[in-house]
């Protein structure tokens, strides 16, 4: 059919106008567009400790217990539980009606297999194993934990929010070998991963899980109801910060999980945007304790004495109100575990005193190889200040610049620094990977660990075990103080500072203030 000459442009215009309208499916689905801090590469939160994989896990999986906004463990998939008076026998019953997103029932066997997988990977789980933890299935909905030694933190362990969170998978997946990520994604959490819409490097799509059974309590932290208000959540990975911020300002996206430091101040003046805390982070200097000079705690103390946390924090570029001038605890300042035990000698940075401490430690000019991350701006800033600080106190330090993946490979090498190994590198950790002697990656590492840096202090191990076993609050506090005081003597790593990254949301997005400490519990959001 041929259209009259005049009708052709009109038809074309109508076609173009019609196609400018949003597609029907998109218009109907209430969609949250969320700019994630990284691209999701590994879909298995039981395999990697990458935060983005953990966050992915919270979208599609559920946990037996979960921390509420006050940091207290609350039952999540568990309906009720009992503990014997001596705390050595526990029985857990799952909530009725729980299902995986394919409609199959969640059973006690799934829970036990998942917890056993988690315990084989996680330090907290490992500590429970050391206390003789044995898991067994009682019936379809009930399972049991028996311990040989007291372990005062069973519920805290099962509600562990980060590192390896103990998510529940079908038993057939949980029993797969742990030496490679699980490719299949099947959980009982609030969302279902849309693999057919997954665009690695760009977009990860989730839709509501039709089989999700929420709790009746309101959402709080990672606990309570996780009933989503959005039908569809799109995690976008926007590698260019400027474009991400522009997209937020224009309303093309609803939320930015981590706003780059440079953009925080400009966004504060935008009436359509609100900023909020994205949790608390600690900057750290990890040192290789197998080889000189950092195999000597006195040398590590000398570096600690030279560290000005204010300078390290300033280098990362966060506004003054988002960084601390000084935080004297190995844990999180402002948290229940904050303590200044052992910190006083290191409170004031003093380069001259640090030089003297280095000389007293018997430092003979051994080469120090500092791995400088080139592709992560805040790590690069931390590394450069660390390089300068070490040079100031007289360490013979060489900065080796490489991308973060190369640092990942290099730091696994146990060779001496001059033979292809390393001496130190800077990194950061989220509060959930810091805030107690058992969740902190480096403070929880017992002698014989295989963590890069290979920290080992037997006294610290004893004090950690004492803290774990202690159940009386006052004594537990004393044990924590003793543990930190020893940490300042052994210096398992150097704290470079504490700061608070920012998240940003469109003003019309409701519930953004309930987003929790850097873990995107997006089910609290609504529009």
């Amino acid at each position: 059919m041929r259209l009259p000459t005049l009708a052709r442009p009109a038809a074309l215009a109508a076609f173009v106008l019609a196609s400018l309208l949003p597609a029907a499916a998109h218009a109907q689905a209430k969609t949250l567009r969320f700019v994630a801090h990284a691209d999701v590469k590994i879909l298995d939160p039981t395999f990697t400790t990458a935060y983005i994989s953990r966050n992915f896990g919270y979208m599609v999986y559920d946990t037996l217990f979960a921390q509420d906004a006050q940091g207290k463990p609350q039952p999540q998939m568990v309906d009720r539980y009992t503990a014997s008076k001596d705390g050595l026998a526990w029985t857990f019953t799952l909530r009725p009606g729980l299902k995986f997103s394919d409609g199959s029932a969640v059973t006690a066997a799934d829970a036990v297999a998942s917890v056993e997988r988690w315990a084989s990977r996680d330090t907290f789980g490992g500590a429970m194993r050391s206390a003789g933890a044995q898991w067994s299935v009682v019936d379809d909905k009930t399972f049991r934990l028996t311990l040989k030694e007291p372990f005062g933190m069973v519920l805290d362990a099962l509600a562990k929010p980060s590192g390896f969170p103990p998510v529940v998978l079908p038993a057939r997946l949980a029993r797969l070998p742990t030496n490679a990520p699980i490719a299949e994604v099947l959980g009982s959490g609030p969302f279902v991963f849309k693999r057919d819409e997954w665009l690695p490097g760009s977009k990860t799509v989730f839709v509501k899980n039709p089989h999700y059974v929420p709790r009746s309590e309101p959402p709080s932290g990672l606990a309570g109801s996780k009933q989503p208000r959005f039908d569809r959540v799109e995690w976008l990975y926007l590698p260019d910060s400027n474009s991400a911020v522009a997209a937020l300002r224009k309303g093309e996206v609803d939320f930015i999980e981590q706003v780059p430091a440079d953009y925080i101040t400009p966004l504060r003046s935008d009436a359509n945007v609100k900023l909020m805390s994205a949790g608390t982070q600690q900057a750290q200097l990890i040192m290789n304790q197998l080889h000189p000079p950092f195999n000597n705690p006195k040398v590590r103390q000398a570096v600690l004495k030279a560290v000005s946390q204010a300078r390290f924090n300033a280098a990362m570029g966060y506004p003054l109100d988002m960084r601390m001038a000084y935080c004297g605890t190995y844990f999180i300042c402002g948290s229940a575990n904050e303590t200044l035990a052992g910190a006083e000698p290191f409170r004031t940075p003093d380069v001259a005193r640090a030089k003297q401490m280095l000389a007293d430690a018997g430092y003979k000019g051994e080469k120090v190889v500092l791995l400088v991350a080139s592709d992560v701006p805040y790590l690069n800033a931390l590394s450069l200040v660390a390089l300068q600080t070490m040079r100031q106190i007289g360490l013979n330090v060489e900065g080796l610049t490489m991308d973060w993946s190369s640092i990942g490979a290099r730091r696994a090498k146990r060779d001496a620094p001059e033979s292809g190994g390393w001496s130190a590198y800077a990194t950061v950790a989220n509060e959930f990977a810091i805030n107690s002697p058992i969740v902190s990656t480096y403070l929880s590492a017992a002698c014989g660990n295989t963590l890069p840096g290979w920290p080992c202090d037997k006294k610290l191990d004893e004090l950690r075990t004492a803290w774990i076993r202690e159940t009386v609050p006052a004594k537990r506090r004393q044990a924590l103080d003793a543990f930190q005081a020893r940490a300042y003597e052994a210096v398992p790593y150097v704290v470079l500072g504490q700061y608070t990254p920012a998240a940003a949301a469109r003003k019309e997005l409701k519930g953004a203030e309930k987003m929790w400490s850097g873990i995107p519990n997006v089910w609290v959001l609504d529009r």
Binding site: S19, K41, A50, P181, A247, E252
Partner: protein, 311 residues
């Protein structure tokens, strides 16, 4: 046809050399995908186990032979990070990249050839100077800076176009076009500058030929004369356009990053950053093949513009 087949056959050793070089370059560069997959808290033991699971602990020649064997059966492999087949990853990325390349070249040709011809026709006048100043500016300004300015002006202030993202053609041609305008204009500016200068130079040379003088003497109008001149100046312009298309397919990383377009360029960069060997190897090899093919097509196009050329 015989020439075409001969040239096609000649690409095979080129591709073989590219395959070996790409493989060696990637595998000999520092960095370990296993360390990246295992995460920040992974132990040396974890990473070693994973290397074994991924087959990265095998000798290099063995890894090469496995990859080559699969390649010869049409299997490009699977991403070691996402477990998504490389063919699927490429399939996802091809549409945005080809869309950008096609629209960018369309804008370029529609603007640059007339502009360059006009500058040549008006050589030495203020028109010529303005065109050349524009060409120098467009060529000198960094692509990302122009991208940010376009976003600020046309997306944030005027709300005409989206800041970022790509809308598939199937979701609506209008929305598809809307998502492409800013990135394509951004990219086209560089090519417009290049091809305008090239067109001006070659047309200017042709305009001094005897047959053009004869055409003017015969009383032909401006447009027919410029048409003759343009056809005779087409070979170098076609070469530049062809090279431009080849560069566009793999070289739009900055634009794809600024406008968050999930194209082939970003796929390569992402894969290089995380040492995703199967993806890098396959995409670079295919890119090399596309380059060779485009060069061949350029050579064949010469005969269309100038029938005197014989192969």
């Amino acid at each position: 046809m015989a020439y075409f087949l001969r040239r096609l056959a000649a690409t095979l050793p080129v591709m073989a050399v590219v395959a070996v070089i790409v493989f060696l370059l990637i595998h000999l560069s520092p960095g370990d995908p296993a360390a990246l997959i295992a995460g920040d808290l992974a132990t040396g033991e974890d990473i070693e186990k994973l290397r074994t699971a991924l087959g990265l602990d095998r000798p290099l020649w063995e890894q090469f032979m496995i990859w080559l064997g699969k390649l010869l059966t049409g299997d490009l492999g699977t991403s070691i990070f996402t477990h998504v087949p490389v063919t699927e990853l490429l399939g996802q990325r091809l549409e945005p990249t080809l869309s950008i390349a096609a629209l960018t070249m369309l804008i370029t040709l529609l603007v640059a050839v007339p502009l360059g011809t006009l500058a040549a026709y008006r050589a030495g006048t203020w028109v010529d100077r303005i065109v050349m100043v524009f060409a120098v500016l467009a060529f000198s300004l960094p692509v990302f800076l122009v991208g940010y300015l376009l976003i600020y002006g046309f997306a944030i202030q005027l709300h005409w176009f989206p800041v970022q993202g790509y809308v598939r053609f199937a979701e609506g041609p209008g929305r598809w076009l809307q998502s492409l305008v800013l990135p394509c204009v951004n990219l086209a500016l560089v090519y417009i500058a290049l091809i305008t200068r090239m067109t001006r130079a070659t047309v200017l040379e042709v305009l001094h030929e005897d047959y053009i003088r004869t055409a003017w003497a015969k009383g032909l109008g401006v447009l027919p004369v410029l048409g003759h001149a343009l056809r005779n100046a087409a070979v170098p312009i076609a070469t530049t356009v062809g090279v431009g298309i080849a560069l566009l397919i793999g070289g739009v990383v900055v634009t794809e990053t600024v406008f968050a377009i999930p194209g082939v360029g970003r796929l390569v960069i992402d894969s290089v950053q995380r040492h995703d060997y199967p993806v890098i190897q396959s995409v670079l090899l295919i890119s090399a093949g596309v380059y060779v093919l485009i060069n061949l097509l350029i050579d064949l196009s010469y005969k269309f513009f100038d029938p005197r050329i014989q192969y």
